[in-house]
Structure formats: structure tokens, C-alpha cells
Amino acid sequence: MVHQYKLNGYNIVLDTVSGSVHAVDEVAYDIIEMYKSESKERIVEIILDRYADSPDVTREDILDCLEDIAALEEAGKLFTVDKYEALARDYKNNSKVVKALCLHVAHTCNLNCSYCFASQGKYHGDRALMSLEVGKRALDFLVENSGTRRNLEVDFFGGEPSLNFDVVKALVEYAREIEGKHGKNFRFTYTTNGMVLTDEMIDFVNREMHNVVLSLDGRKEINDHFRRDYSGKGSYDTIVPNFKRLVEKRGGKGYYVRGTFTHNNVDFTNDLFHMADLGFTELSMEPVVSPPGDPYALTEEDLPKLFEQYEILAKEMIKRKREGRPFTFYHYMLDLKHGPCIYKRITGCGSGTEYMAVTPWGELFPCHQFVGDPRYSLGNVFDGIKNTEVQDEFRTCNSYSRPECRDCWANLYCSGGCAANAYHATGSIGGVYEYGCKLFKKRIECAVMMQVAEAVDDE
């Protein structure tokens, strides 16, 4: 599928099936737009008429451009035919391995954020800490079900995992003991609100964790609006120094300072710029997950403002990079030369199949966003997957499983989207969360534009 758009002075043409990106001028942009619907002669007529005031646009020149387009089509870089649908179905059906777990080591939290999708870490259930026994069994379950996959991922999640840090340390130690024996490589992620990070914890996290996700919503007044402790005190003044120490001592290893924006801070780029000005360079900011009608839920009226914000962000990132003070934004990190293969693009996050969440009691759910919903309990780490009906439902989710996705230019960038978002928005994991799609597409357009800007600037 071809997707054309204009942004920040660039005319961009995506051939989504091959992943090709073309920066074109106005004339080529118009020709490509009508290439499949009009005859060559008609295209020449239309373009000559449209650009009558431009002496460089001649009949010969238009014919040259048509030849270039034909050559790109022949080379599989434009109007490439999509043959991936059967591949998507078969690959996911045949893949039976588990390679990533989100370990809920603490269903409790030392913050009381009213917007938390996990209801202050309790996931609408009881407070609990994962025992070492359950945690070890979860790691064994992962190894046993990982087939030939070498890289296994475990995210220490909550609630706040720091409230069960002894178990986190013991589980890392256990994983290091068993990984060599089984030819595996554990990669850990630690997601924390930063409230109780001591130097000892920071050193451990920096040594053992492949990735760290540090929760901060941006400006002090924005962060402290939701991210407060049980006495009502904002967390900003505690966590920012802790995060700064962690990042300073991290030695260049991966991390993200990650925030959530809501209806209250539609101007979320100011929060990202604030994070960057604090010295953090690896940033992420996500739209809030909330039921419609919540006072902080994003609205239709917010949408044009959010689109504008994503554009502001992209332009500012280009500017800061040119000034030698770059920062990254998770959703703009496209690597067009070394990005994922088609199998990754059509199968997506793997929730419910190769990725699952484990509760403190060892119960398995398709991902952290389904935890606590009994309809989506898959089984447990002791007895394995029992609810194969639900798992099969997740196995059918791919970039072509929803009719809306088949006709969408972005389906190889999002893989059909987040099953949890679809479920919360429509009541079915096979639905489409249209609001999220609109934001996602805008982000991809901005991300590709940044790549085009860099490539054009390099010339």
C-alpha cells in the first residue's frame, strides 16, 4: 500500500509493503497520487495544466518521472503487492514458544496515583508480594516453554517492584544460575516509580537490568497532580534526584524516563522538554489508558491538539539534534535500515502467546493489562496454560485479523495494535481502538518525517 503525506515541508511517499520511503517534490507527489488511476497521457495533461506557471515542468520531464516511478515499481519499492496475510496467520499459529514474562512481583505500591490502570498496584484484587518460590517457578516455566529461543525477557513490574526487592535480587541470581545450563540469556527490565531507590538498589539495577523504565510525568505540577503518596504529597521532589543518580551511574545502558499524559496536559511536549532539560535523554510519553468519561480521559476535541503536539515534538527533536543536544522519544525511534523483519511486524507484541504476565500467586494472564480479569486467566506457572480457548483467540491477533487493519497503511508498523486497548475500547480483543490508531498513525508520520529530514540534510 502507498501512503502519501506532507509534513514539515517534506513530501513523503511510503511503500508500506516493502518499507520503502521516498522524499519527492510536488510534481512527483501529484503524479504518484494518480499513477494507478489515470492513463499516462492523462497524467501528462493534468500535470502540464496544474504546473502551467512552472517552466521546468515539461512533457518530457513528466514522462521521465513516470519512467522513474515504473522503475521503482519494478524494483519492488513502490506499489508493492501485499502477500503477507497468509504468512501472518500461519506464523503465529505455528509459534508455540513463550519468550517474555511480565513478573508482577508486587501487587502493592507506595504511590496512590488515581489514574493508575492497575488500581494502585492491586489490579482490583488484594495486595500481595510474589514469593521467591513462585518467582523461581515462573522463570523455570519460561525456560521450559521457550523452545530454541535464546533471549528471554523478564520485566520486574508491579505495583512497585522495589517493595519486594529482596525477591527481585534472588530471582536475578537464580536466573543467572540457570541461564547457562539451558543456553539462555535473560534480559531484565525494571519498571519503578523511584520512590525508594537507594544507592545499593541503583547499583544492582544498573548492573543486572538490560533496561530500566523510570516513571515521571514531566513538570512538577503535572507529575504531582496524579503521582502522589498516600499522604497526598507529590513524588517529584523525591524521584527526580533518584532518577538522576540512577541515570548518571548507568554508564550508557538503556533506560527510559516514561510519562503518561492525560486530558489535563494535552501540551505534553512541555513535559518531555522538561525531562530533556533535566538531563534525561531517553524519553517516552504515553496517552492515558482510562474509561471514557473519566475527567482526565482524552477527548475527541483533544485530538487535533495532540496531532500538533507530535509535530512540535518532531520539529524540536530535529532542532536539538542539529544543535548537538539530542534526545530520543520511544515512538520516534525508527531504524529504517535495521528494523524488524516481516514476522515481527505481522505478529506484534505476542501478548497471550509468547508474552504473558504472572501475578504474585503465579497466575498467568495474556499481559499486564488483563491481570485481575478472571475471563482472561490463562492458567498458572505450576500447571501451565489451561485456558487454550482464550490463548487461541490471542493467537489469531495479527496485522490482518481486523478488517479495518487490512486497508490501513500503518498495519505493518503497529501489527494490528494493542489487544488490551482494543478490549477496553470495544469489548473485544478483535476490535479496533480508533482513537489510539489515530495517534499511532500521526506518530509514525512524524517519525518517518524525521528520518527523511536527516537523510535529506545529509546530502
Binding site: V17, G19, I342
Partner: protein, 48 residues
């Protein structure tokens, strides 16, 4: 090409044959946790 500049990209169609090792990061293990974006995931084998 006078009017078209093609940016260097990985040819996704070619990865049908040699992709699918499955060793790359699960997208929710990075930073989002609330959306599904795979395009920004790194390939574990850049030759593919």
C-alpha cells in the same frame, strides 16, 4: 532521479525468507506498556 529521492531502507519483503528468528525484544518490554508499536524494535540480526 530528478524528482524522487529514495531513502535507504531495509526491504521488508526480502525478510520473508530469512526473518522470523524471534530473538528480538517483545515490544511491551521496552517502554510503552500501553500500546503496540513494533516498527521501532531493533532486529537482533541486522543481516536479515
Amino acid at each position: 532521479m530528478k524528482r524522487i529521492k529514495t531513502i535507504e531502507t531495509k526491504d521488508i519483503a526480502k525478510t520473508v525468507e530469512n526473518g522470523g528468528c524471534g530473538e528480538c525484544q517483545t515490544s511491551c518490554q521496552s517502554a510503552c506498556k500501553t500500546s503496540c508499536g513494533v516498527a521501532n524494535q531493533q532486529c537482533e540480526n541486522s543481516k536479515k
